[in-house]
């Protein structure tokens, strides 16, 4: 009996201990106060490296009412660490508040504008790019002024052996050498002429500018991992992996912006409902909430703010259109057949009621997308696609408009009067929770014209990757593209250089090859438009629409938030958020 008494007491003790330990929790964020002060920074291990500046030293006097931290809830990141070169572009959101770029993307116009670079020049052959840098930019934690060596480091990090950033492949392929004529000039020599280099080096890409002094000063990667020094108006403080990332306003006059908030806390919350609950409960000021929950958001008095430009190029892909690597071509795949495939693809395009998808799933907010990834604001656009025809409709509407009757006729013409069976893959995609709903609607539309769909849900893109890489994709899949340059889309999806091989043809190889050789922007745009035209005429994909990313915002705390919405990672320009005072 004594033993059991002891056991009971021991269990009760353990439970009480657990509760007691849990009573000591993390910091409580107060919306009206400043977040608790961080621990004083650790001194760096090298004498040559300046000691990091602690939070409350040399804070500029301000008469503005303290707004505390700007609190943002976003979904979980695909990669999470301060090593920004390891991870796709969306994971850069965890570093962007503290970092700056040579070139920014203007939040209102979407145009590339100077940031850390005051100007840049391209040689006539587009093989040499020279950037002139600002002289008044300071790094965090006392790591001194920005120089061209810091930009060189930014490019080196993206090309490290362990780098898997979205643009790593590009930079490894294009950059030949870097020359630093002086402390505020950097010259990039390329392996081939690339007039579009301004795009990936801008905020669109992942060329963040870290402090070379922090790296070269001895502590190197360890110091960077602990507290990466950048030049932004917020500086990194700490993170709890999978939970939050904390930034604080720099304790000096920033060269570019005086932020309205004292800090920034990003909550990483994988569950959509929980992000909704957080903004409704007043725990965050900005929250990424899916469109299906917008009614609840608006009912609670919150505001939905979309990006100024569309960012999601939603589409479905036909696998197997291997018209260059014809050994891999399987003509039994209805849409890949050389003779009748185009009829089938047109039929499947006409079976989709895009207006209905836009109205029901996206509350009517979308822009037409005649060719995937091509947009009026980017080179490679052809006005012809949205040109009004004598019928009153645009060419896109005439060729791709919802017409199930016509779709059935086309299928019959192609030799499928009773339809056929096919497989359609879907997988969760970051920033696009509507993926499954769209796949379900495609299934219904296809079944309406006699195509029986076997819908396969994959946990990740990895489930189908080996097929499209290996020229064995005999299925379709939904894809959420971004707002990158159309030439990138051509490289990845249409050229034999890419790994997706959605639609390949000798004509595209010719045009893309000429594009790579040319340095004339007008000619390059024409060639990419020509590829787009072929894709349009051949119904090579099923474009759905351009969609806008949006966030829910608490108007009691946020007066204004302007962001382009096109930069991967989406929630950018948080340093420009205006507080509601």
């Amino acid at each position: 009996m004594n033993f059991f008494r002891f056991l009971t007491l021991a269990l009760v003790f353990v439970m009480v201990l657990a509760v007691t330990v849990s009573c000591g929790g993390g910091d409580e964020d107060s919306p009206d106060g400043v977040a608790d002060a961080t621990q004083p920074s650790q001194a760096s291990s090298s004498e040559a490296t300046p000691k990091p500046v602690t939070k409350n030293v040399d804070k500029p006097k301000t008469t503005k009412k303290s707004m505390g931290d700007l609190r943002v809830a976003i979904t979980a990141l695909s990669h999470e660490s301060n090593f920004h070169w390891i991870g796709s572009s969306d994971s850069l959101i965890g570093s962007r508040p503290a970092a700056e770029y040579l070139i920014d993307v203007d939040a209102e116009t979407g145009v590339e504008v100077p940031m850390l670079a005051t100007s840049w020049e391209m040689s006539p052959d587009a093989k040499t790019w020279t950037f002139n840098l600002r002289k008044d930019v300071e790094f965090h934690y006392g790591y001194g002024s920005m120089t061209s060596r810091d930009v060189e480091l930014g490019l080196d990090l993206l090309r490290r052996e362990d780098a898997i950033q979205t643009d790593t492949s590009y930079w490894r392929g294009v950059l030949d050498s870097v020359h630093l004529p002086d402390d505020h000039t950097i010259e990039l020599t390329l392996k081939y002429g690339d007039p579009d280099l301004y795009w990936p080096i801008a905020a669109n890409g992942g060329v963040l500018i870290p402090s070379a002094k922090q790296w070269d000063g001895g502590a190197g990667i360890d110091a960077f991992e602990e507290r990466p020094a950048y030049t932004g108006p917020y500086q990194y403080v700490d993170r709890e992996l999978g939970n939050w990332i904390q930034f604080e306003k720099v304790p000096y006059d920033h060269w570019r912006v005086d932020t309205d908030f004292d800090g920034l806390k990003m909550h990483l919350v994988p569950e959509d409902f929980t992000r909704l609950a957080m903004i409704l409960a007043g725990e965050v000021d900005i929250s990424s909430v899916s469109k299906t929950l917008h009614p609840e958001v608006k009912e609670a008095g919150m505001v939905i703010i979309p990006g100024n430009f569309p960012s999601i190029s939603a589409n479905a892909m036909f696998g197997g259109q291997y018209y260059v690597n014809t050994e891999a071509l399987d003509e039994s795949v209805p849409w890949a057949n050389l003779e009748t495939g185009k009829l089938v693809r047109e039929a499947m395009n006409r079976a989709i009621n895009r207006e209905e998808i836009i109205d029901v799933l996206f509350k009517g907010v979308a822009e037409p997308m005649p060719v995937v990834a091509h947009h009026q604001t980017k080179p490679g656009w052809d006005d012809r696609w949205l040109e009004k025809q004598p019928s009153g409709k645009t060419l896109y509407q005439e060729r791709y408009g919802y017409d199930p009757e016509k779709a059935r006729e086309l299928l019959a013409q192609a030799g499928y009067p009773d339809g056929f069976e096919m497989t359609f893959h879907t997988f969760p995609q970051s920033g696009f929770p509507e993926t499954r709903d769209i796949a379900d609607s495609f299934q219904l539309y296809f079944e309406d014209i006699g195509i029986k769909v076997n819908l396969v849900e994959n946990p990740t893109l990895g489930g189908i990757r080996e097929h499209y890489k290996g020229y064995s994709a005999d299925f379709m899949w939904i894809f959420r593209g971004g707002a990158r340059l159309p030439s990138n889309d051509v490289r990845v999806f249409y050229s034999t250089e890419g790994i997706v091989h959605v639609y390949e043809s000798d004509e595209i190889e010719k045009n893309y090859g000429a594009f790579k050789e040319s340095v004339d922007p007008v000619e390059r745009a024409r060639l990419i438009a020509a590829v787009g035209d072929e894709v349009f005429e051949e119904y090579a994909r099923i474009p759905i629409a351009w969609f806008f990313f949006d966030v829910a915002v608490d108007p009691k705390r946020v007066a204004e938030y302007n962001y382009p919405g096109t930069i991967t990672g989406i929630i950018t320009h948080l340093d420009l958020v205006k507080a509601n005072r």
């Binding site: 929790g25 052996e161 898997i164 999978g242 939970n243 919350v269």
Partner: protein, 306 residues
Amino acid sequence: MQRYIAIRIFQSLITLVAISIIVFALGRITGNPLDVLLPLEAQQDDYDRLTIVWGLDKPLYQQYFTFLGNAASGNFGDSWKWPGKTAMELVLDRLPNTAILAGVALLVSTAIALPIGVLSAVKRDTWVDHIGKIIALFGQSLPAFWLGIILIWLFAVKWDIFPTSGNEGFRSIVLPGVAIGWFQVAALMRLIRSAMLDVLDSEYVKLARIKGVPEWKVVWKHCLRNAAIAPLTYFALILGALMVGSVSIETVFNWPGVGQLAVEAAKASDFQVLQAIVIVFCGIYVLANLLVDILYAYLDPRIRYS
């Protein structure tokens, strides 16, 4: 008794090795992690480069023995989704949070199940008994993640009593603790009820009543003590189940525990972290079962290996 313990420990080690093989194999069956982690813009030479950097070019059996050898010293390799962190570092960092959540859930389970179980037994077949069973049944029937969402909606959003999510102190643990703990109430309550029913009919209980001992003392002191043997041994198993079963609740409440870590690692095909989590959780379960078996052997001398 020593022989029995030694054999059980040996069996536990064999179990862990078998689990390590299964975990390793299942992780590889899901596919190449580079297919998940690399962007679409990656070229073939990026695949080739990173295959070497991450050791994926080695034969599977070599990868396994490297893994096993390192695992024996607690080294499960570096995480791919959380670069700069080792797999074990991530798991050990999160384990206390999961243990705390499991502890609170156990407290909630016990706090609800104990009085209900006792009263159901004492007031057998009355409305008290029926209501007790319904409360317990609700816990087992309601999906934990759904219950979690409802609790957040009511207690965090509508009534602003508790935080919605995260780990911001004691208040943060109440809702997830209830969401997980309620599920175990049914099983615990039934165990206590049936144990109490056995004890309530005992001769010594009748004697205590005849001698004029107050009824509350008969029930709560004399009967419950003797009825507590089975539920107490069940606690060890519940604790293991609560720790490994917290995945959905940790996701809903954004609780920084091992369950949430497992979900994120699975999405990213982060083998190293997944292996570490499974081995650690299995280790906890195996240890809990081992302790229970030893406890039973101590209690009942008939349980031995001959």
